[in-house]
Amino acid sequence: MQPTLTKNETTSSLEQGKANMLKEPTPQQIADGRIYATMGVTDAEYAHICELLGRKPNYTEIGVFSVMWSEHCAYKNSKPLLKRFPVTGDRVLVGPGEGAGIVDIGDGQAVCFKIESHNHPSAIEPFQGAATGVGGIIRDIFSMGARPVALLNSLRFGQLTDERVRYLFEHVVSGIAGYGNCIGIPTVGGEVMFDSSYEGNPLVNAMCVGLIDHKDIQRGVASGIGNPVYYVGPPTGRDGIHGATFASEELTEESEAKRPAVQVGDPFMEKLVMESCLELIQSGIVIGIQDMGAAGLTCSSAEMASKAGNGLELHLDEVPQRERGMTPYEMMLSESQERMLFVIEEHNEAIAMEIFDRWGVICRKVGRVTDDGRLRLTYGGEEVADMPVRGLVDECPVYEKPSQVPAYYTANEAIDTTSYPEVVDVNEALLKVLGSPTVASKEWVYRQYDSMVRASTAVAPGSDAAVVMVRGTRKALAMTTDCNGRYAYLDPFMGGRIAVAEAARNIVCSGAEPLAITDNLNFGNPEKPENFWQMEQAVDGMAEACRHLSTPVIGGNVSLYNENAKGAIYPTPVVGMVGLVHDVDHITQQGFKQEGDIVLLLGTTQAELGGSEFQTVIHGVTEGRPPVVNLDTELNLQHAVLRVIQAGQVQSAHDLAEGGIAVALTESAISGSIGVTADWHIEGLRKDVALFSESQSRVLLSVRPQHVEAVLESCAQYDVPVQRLGVVGGDRIQLRVNGEAAIDVARIEAERVWKDAIPCLMQ
């Protein structure tokens, strides 16, 4: 455990802290020197703060306002867009606004999940950046009262040929592994993609899924005037000060100097905090509980007070500290990890203390709930800050940023992606695409994650979606993250739509009914109108798909200012989706199962190479328009697939994604360790275009011969075009197109290329 200061040390620390406060700029100096600007506060915002306070803010106050009004905490640039998402549904128990959303799964049980980014910290300090991203999202889940049962992560990096990218990739993965493995929550899925657009600004989005009984759902509210407020977790240090502000600006060469703004994680401590807090919640005495995430003590206290419509008084001398002479400013802005804040009634204190003592976790009373609607801070008996809670939480100005269609988007309309010279050797092309790190096996990554702890993982990483069983029931949860940044770059609206549609398709292919999504909007600097346009379009595309597929948004995260020297990253609205497997018998994977099974292709293939893996790997460009997804077609496909899976008629199911049918067929063969012989009739498309087109709403099924008729019938009922493609068996992957030889490769050879690609690059 980290050492906390002794009583004598605390006294001298207080004197030192007071001395340090004297060195802080005065309110007048803050105004004259525009010191607020260095904290990301604009002149207009500063004026507004002065108005709210009726005076000029002191150093602590301006610090608190600056983090509360950062994009990371206030969503000031994205709020108008987030309102466009559908957030309600029959199953939604808790929507956006709390630590994490919660969805009903029947029998008094529910699933709680959320995704969050740690992009900027990971760009500077990849191991700790990624690790604390995982730690933060786990706290969001257990602070709702849920038991975390699974982790996923969605990662984006530049090209692995670059040394710095390899460094970031290696350490982000070990940071995720280090945290998840130690705390004992399995990392079961996610995605990794590589594109130069993310060079220097990788994306690290972590998602956590938890299980909860309806009766245990908690809220982050500070209610009951006079109730004590408690601090739980390791002592506060100076790490992570201004982390939220740092996350709300572009990375520059000077960012390296902000390494101290990256927090340091301790998964062992979090395990103890998690177990003790869940026990506290189970004891039934908690009134409100919230984790100290971005903006630490500031954000948790202000939000808890705001949700209850109350005020809060914090006695900062009582805050456990591990460094001497910390000022109120530093304590309020520290993002030291693994800390929680909760409210109980005073007479229950002994119950709480017994639990935390047993787990060896520090718990200390640091304040109380007040009725004046103010956040008041005292230090050494003196009041050092006094701010209106409503002002901090609700009065942050919201900006409607100008939006402008980027020139590249207009120019792309004229590009014909079918006019590239024909690739005759499609076998060689397939091997190249299989060896591209985005398509290649991610075993190198997920083998470092404990994907099986909790002994509930039915489908580990490597299939369309991961599946985790719900102990004591026949139910299971399917989960996935999806987003193709290239599609979203070429057409943010369609890219947003596809991200949701593909996530749902993955969920369905694993045998589950899609429930809801959490989203992580990763974009560039919103102050550039072209970037804001991308955001607007992507959100509209996602919102439309969510409505159509009945998968509301129950929470999420926005990460802006993701830029490198070449400009904004590809817009990357990551979708984290969870689905319900009604019976474990429905669990389905992508690998072929048995010789003699019939392979069916559902859906329609068109000439759609814009943003495809083939276009990038073979032709070296990302241009044109991405594939088009029709949501009616998509919904029909998903209904048909789910119905035949639930009827027990499906051996394997695999969504067609990057690399089209050529890659999907190969992956099913590799995963199943068995070959396939297929003959595909496709009208009007050149062979290479047909094989690598990434047309949406397509699924590859393998079924037992006796079930073929029934599956064809169900497809007809849902108006889903279906073709009998071939038969599972042998040790080669053979696909003829219109009777002509096309793909013909030994399964072992394909597997070698696919599996060795990333390890070779990382050696």
Partner: protein, 229 residues
């Protein structure tokens, strides 16, 4: 049969062991036992589960060996009670001197989690009588420090006494002689890096772990029957 599953701060496979024991050991009472407990009288099987006890800080198992419960484990082991250490539990047992050798960082320096083929090199033990001699079974591994090491003399002893119980078919971590699990000379204490508690149903991918628990139950019944007669 009464089973204790120890819980140290940072244990994270304790519940998995409880569930596996409950599901596979018919009629057994399974209890989680806190690291501060100093008396383990009455238990027939003590499971030291996996996880990151005390964060694995300093060295895995190095702090846990000082927990009060470990003296009770040593006494129980001496009394012939079955002790099964899995993953971090194996590390703790070697640190506590209940099993020889040590677990070092994996040769590849990376954590590894996947299914692993194990050869049952000794099936005449209380833990493995349910397996065929030299049978290859499928049990997952998940560790960063599973690279078993001991000096030549100890190794010769392990071989001479048939103390090597499991070996890897494909060595994932650099363990000497592919060792995955060993037992003490009396045959009542087994330590292994792979996780049998994660291989107890087809839905999890393998149920090869079930026979380990069944073997322990059989051994306990035999001993019990002998005692009664």
């Amino acid at each position: 049969m009464k089973v204790a599953v120890l819980v140290f701060p940072g244990s994270n496979c304790d519940w998995d062991c409880v569930h596996a024991a409950e599901e596979t050991l018919e009629g057994a009472t399974v209890e989680r036992v806190w690291h501060t407990t100093s008396d383990l009288t009455g238990y027939d099987l003590i499971i030291v589960p996996g996880g990151f006890s005390y964060g694995d800080y300093l060295r895995s198992g190095a702090i846990a060996r000082f927990a009060p419960v470990m003296s009770a484990v040593a006494k129980a082991a001496e009394d012939g009670v079955f002790v099964l250490g899995i993953c971090n539990g194996f590390q703790i047992l070697t640190e506590a001197g209940l099993l020889p050798g040590a677990l070092r960082r994996n040769a590849g320096l990376k954590f590894r989690c996947h299914y692993s083929n194990l050869r049952v090199t000794n099936n005449s033990t209380a833990f493995t009588s349910g397996y065929e001699a030299n049978e290859v079974i499928d049990i997952p591994i998940a560790h960063g420090e599973g690279n078993y090491y001991c000096d030549d003399e100890t190794l010769a002893q392990l071989k001479r006494n048939n103390q090597i119980v499991f070996t890897y078919e494909s060595n994932p971590n650099g363990s000497i002689e592919d060792i995955a699990g060993i037992m003490n000379t009396s045959g009542n204490v087994l330590g292994m890096m792979p996780h049998p508690e994660r291989a107890v149903s087809d839905l999890l991918g393998s149920k090869d772990g079930v026979r380990m628990f069944a073997s322990i139950m059989k051994a306990w019944r035999e001993r019990h029957a002998t005692n009664v007669n």
